[in-house]
């Protein structure tokens, strides 16, 4: 009982000292939450931005609010710095560590105090945002309360994870500024390494594609907090990621604080090994940064010599800066030469692993025995059934999202095409260069994805000859699975079609005819398009002439009247016949049937 009462008193005492933190969080929270929600609700009721209030709340104060993630990260930094800045003062260490209280208890009081001072005002503001403001505006829904609760739980967890990391930085250093910087370093190093690897892959490998995935977000709790659960990972994945960060860092905080030497107050770091490790990492980033800037300034002809020069300069400059920041002066340059040389050497070695590709990553594809399914996509395929100037009916999607929609288990023809493309891929060649010959024809850039049996996805981008593409298409002629996935007209649901209009792309008067179709006729049209597409070939379509386009108006939950434009090629006999017989005669009669100009060059 005595111990509990004492903890409460200590907590109250510590909170009283930092009550200004509560005031600041409350003031900012009022603006970011109830005020912002109020303004969004006003917009939603005017139908200017969102179609419903729950969506407005979700993007303002809910799980999709990116700036809430940033705000909790800043709050976490303030709480940790204000709580542990005294660690840099020998005098305060003398006081705190001479008192008859354990180190663990001291840490618990300060940590809890900081958390309460930030979480309490946030909860007050969130209650106002999710309940009071909607009630006052007469638009309260139960779903708002649920969204508010989910967001509160998520952002509190996000706060605790970022807070624990910042506390770790403060505890590992004997100076306030350096401790905060170390906290920021721990938060960004994961995404920074991922980003650097992505760049090295991008500049050195011509076929490797990196898809967005949840792994990159898990590398930092700030990334998880700011991005929020979204397309790359589920809410539960984010919660687990944040929980792991929070628990792991909290354990480290407790353990390290308990053994932290008080005499390190004022020192850069409490452990001797931290400085060289940090310097090596920072020098590597500096080396890569300047090296890539020098070496790849001319992206078409990179220079390794310039990269090495840039890397050397980058390592040296960063070492000098780090010495000045950590110690206020440059110490023992001769002794540190080995450190600098080691960082430089490591940078060059890593770079050469990517540049020379000794493991032939660029030429390798997964073993067929490990593959479960495959898919491919190309922007060129979009042209097959859409006009070039209007794709407003479809939102931009990344290649991995496209491929995930079209994975097929009957992947042998696709695999053969990829194998051929990979083996013909020259490390020196640029797949983005136009590669046209009379014999080979035109190359097409294809993104290919392998779904392995382990669940992992591997992506490559190849310049595939249209002959290879044609062969693959031919091999899939009788494949229902391929047709279901790659025939865009198999994915149209007739119930989504609101109206259909026809127009000629060559008609200067821009005449458009709306077709009066019932459900059955709409299905007939879709089936005709599907059959025409199935019997056609990409090369043939790309070189075909087209004069007719269809606008299919779809109804969608979140959008209003998006348009889907479909190119109706001259070879689409079934579709043409349907249009002729269903009220598009006037448009079709304006077509010039004598011209056979190739549309693709």
């Amino acid at each position: 009982m005595t111990s509990t009462v004492s903890f409460r008193k200590e907590l109250r005492d510590n909170m009283r000292e930092r009550i200004w933190l509560f005031a600041i969080i409350l003031a900012v929270g009022i603006l970011l939450l109830p005020v912002a929600v109020f303004l969004e609700i006003q917009d939603a009721s005017l139908e200017s931005v969102h179609s419903n209030i729950v969506d407005a709340f979700r993007q303002t104060a809910g799980l999709q609010s990116g700036y809430m993630g940033a705000a909790v990260s800043v709050a976490a930094g303030m709480a940790s710095v204000s709580g542990f800045s005294w660690l840099g003062s020998q005098e305060r260490n003398d006081l705190m560590h001479s008192l008859p209280v354990s180190r663990e208890r001291i840490f618990a009081v300060i940590y809890t105090s900081g958390a309460v001072l930030c979480i309490a005002p946030y909860l007050i503001c969130q209650i106002f945002a999710a309940l009071v403001v909607p009630l006052v505006n007469g638009c309260f829904q139960g779903a708002l309360a649920v969204e508010g609760l989910k967001a509160a739980a998520f952002f509190i967890l996000a706060f605790l994870s970022v807070y624990s990391v910042f506390c770790l930085g403060m505890i590992l250093s004997g100076r306030t500024g350096l401790g905060a910087a170390l906290g920021i370093f721990i938060l960004v190093i994961g995404p920074a390494v991922y980003w650097l690897v992505t760049i090295l892959i991008h500049v050195n490998f011509s076929t490797v594609l990196i898809a967005g995935n949840s792994f990159q977000w898990m590398l930092s709790p700030v990334a998880l907090a700011v991005s929020g659960p979204g397309k790359d990972f589920s809410t539960w994945a984010a919660v687990v990621g944040l929980a792991v960060w929070a628990v792991a860092c909290l354990i480290l905080d407790c353990r390290i604080y308990a053994m932290r030497p008080s005499e390190k107050a004022g020192s850069a770091f409490i452990f001797r090994w931290i400085s060289p490790v940090l310097q090596i990492i920072l020098m590597a980033f500096g080396g890569f940064g300047l090296g890539l800037m020098f070496g790849y300034y001319n992206s078409t002809s990179p220079s390794y010599a310039l990269f090495i020069t840039g890397a050397a300069v980058g390592c040296l400059v960063v070492w000098i800066i780090s010495e000045l920041v950590f110690y206020g002066k440059i110490r023992h340059f001769r002794k540190k030469c080995r450190l600098i040389a080691g960082a430089f050497g490591g940078t060059i070695l890593i770079f050469l692993m990517f540049a020379l590709d000794p493991l032939h990553v660029d030429q390798r594809i997964p073993d067929a025995d490990h593959v479960q399914a495959m898919g491919l996509w190309s922007d060129s395929l979009d042209y097959l059934y859409m006009t070039t100037n209007d794709t407003s009916g479809t939102e931009y999607r990344e290649f991995d999202e496209r491929i995930s929609d079209v994975l097929i288990t009957d992947f042998e023809p696709m695999y053969e095409m990829a194998q051929e493309a990979a083996s013909s891929q020259d490390a020196e060649s640029d797949i983005y260069q136009s590669n046209h010959t009379e014999e080979a024809g035109t190359n097409v850039l294809i993104d290919i994805g392998w779904k392995l049996k382990s669940g992992r996805m591997v992506y490559r981008e190849y310049s595939v000859s249209d002959a290879s593409l044609e062969k693959m298409w031919d091999d899939y002629r009788d494949s229902d699975e391929f047709d279901e996935n790659y025939n865009p007209f198999r994915k149209i649901s007739v119930s989504d079609i609101h109206s259909v209009s026809v127009y000629s792309t060559t008609d200067a008067d821009d005449n458009t005819e709306f077709l009066d179709l019932d459900e059955g006729e709409k299905q007939e049209l879709v089936d005709a398009l599907a059959e025409d597409f199935r019997t056609s070939r990409p090369k043939e379509l790309l070189q075909s002439y087209y004069q007719v386009a269809l606008d299919i108006n779809e109804w969608s939950e979140n959008t209003k009247d998006p348009l889907m434009n479909i190119t109706v090629y001259d070879s689409y006999k079934n579709t043409m016949a349907f249009l002729q017989s269903h009220g598009a005669a006037e448009v079709l009669n304006t077509l010039n049937t004598d011209e056979t100009v190739s549309a693709g060059a």
Partner: protein
């Protein structure tokens, strides 16, 4: 009783050795003076005894209770006995509360941790010395901060009070007042102050036991009374100047100085024995003079081969 056994401590990962195998004993109810030059290790030892910093090796025992927990696996100190710390109050040489705090707030903070803290007595003492309880400490002079710090320590009600150069910066009146308060405290309860200083004269009339630190080691640790009883300064003039050397050989001389005809020696032994030996040489005159703490140390340190003047220069 405090027992310090084989305490060693280095800074900068072993580059700078602050304490090297220190062992000493501090008895309860005695004023212990910890003396040494700057960098001798006094503050380090005080901080170790208070649990602020942890030794590299060795331990401190309070009434036969081990203060530092040692990990069986690594052999390193892993923590302190928090219960023992309720009997310890450490006053460093610089003010260690937030500067914006008032003495009243500092007292409140101490009361949270020291169950026996006498807030009422603290208020009265502060009023007696003329310090405002509600004024922020950043407006206090250095001496006023030390006064406040000392009063906080005295009112904490702990058995041990470790003061690191607490009298520095205090005017003579306040210094004497503080010493009186310490003496009062010792009379009223079981109280043992440990005072660290580099000023021998300041501690001379105050300490019962002194320990001299030099470069991380203990040169001597002895009762002041015993030291003064066993060392005497004699001033004399012999009729036969040639007998001076013979006389010095017959005494356990620690230091010998001649000013004109007058000889002044510092010798070990009882006063009666020394005077008897001197009178046996038929001096023109001979008298015993008071020995200062500094002079008492001279003999002990120079006998050990240290130039006392260089220790405190």
């Amino acid at each position: 009783m405090i027992e310090i056994r084989d305490i060693s401590k280095s800074y900068d990962d072993g580059a700078s050795k602050a304490l090297s195998g220190i062992s000493m004993r501090i008895d309860d109810g005695r004023v212990f003076g910890l003396i040494g030059t700057n960098g001798a290790g006094k503050s380090t030892l005080m901080r170790i005894m208070s649990g602020v910093i942890r030794p590299d090796s060795g331990n401190v025992w309070y009434d036969r209770r081990q203060f530092f927990r040692v990990s069986g696996r690594t052999g390193r100190v892993s923590g302190e006995d928090t219960a023992l710390k309720t009997d310890i109050c450490f006053l460093p040489d610089s003010w260690n509360f937030p500067l914006n705090a008032t003495p009243a707030e500092c007292a409140h903070r101490f009361q949270l941790f020291y169950q026996n803290f006498n807030e009422e007595r603290f208020r009265k003492m502060m009023q007696t010395v003329g310090l405002d309880l509600s004024r922020p400490v950043r407006t206090f002079s250095r001496g006023m901060r030390k006064e406040t710090s000392m009063l906080l320590g005295l009112c904490a009600g702990t058995r041990y009070l470790f003061c690191d150069e607490i009298f520095d910066g205090l005017d003579p009146v306040v210094r004497q007042a503080m010493k009186s308060l310490v003496a009062e405290e010792m009379v009223d309860r079981n109280f043992t102050p440990v005072i660290a200083s580099h000023n021998l004269r300041e501690l001379e009339d105050f300490c019962d036991h002194v320990g001299l630190l030099y470069k991380g080691g203990v040169l001597l640790s002895e009762e002041l009374e015993n030291m003064k009883l066993s060392i005497h300064k004699v001033q004399f003039v012999l009729r036969d100047k040639g007998r001076e050397d013979e006389l010095c050989r017959n005494l356990d001389v620690l230091q010998c100085r001649k000013r004109g005809s007058v000889m002044e020696i510092l010798a070990r032994g009882s006063a009666d024995d020394i005077m008897q030996t001197v009178r046996s040489e038929d001096p023109v005159f001979a008298e015993i003079l008071p020995v200062t703490l500094e002079e008492a140390f001279i003999g002990e340190t120079e006998v050990n081969g240290y130039d006392f003047n260089s220790l405190f220069s």
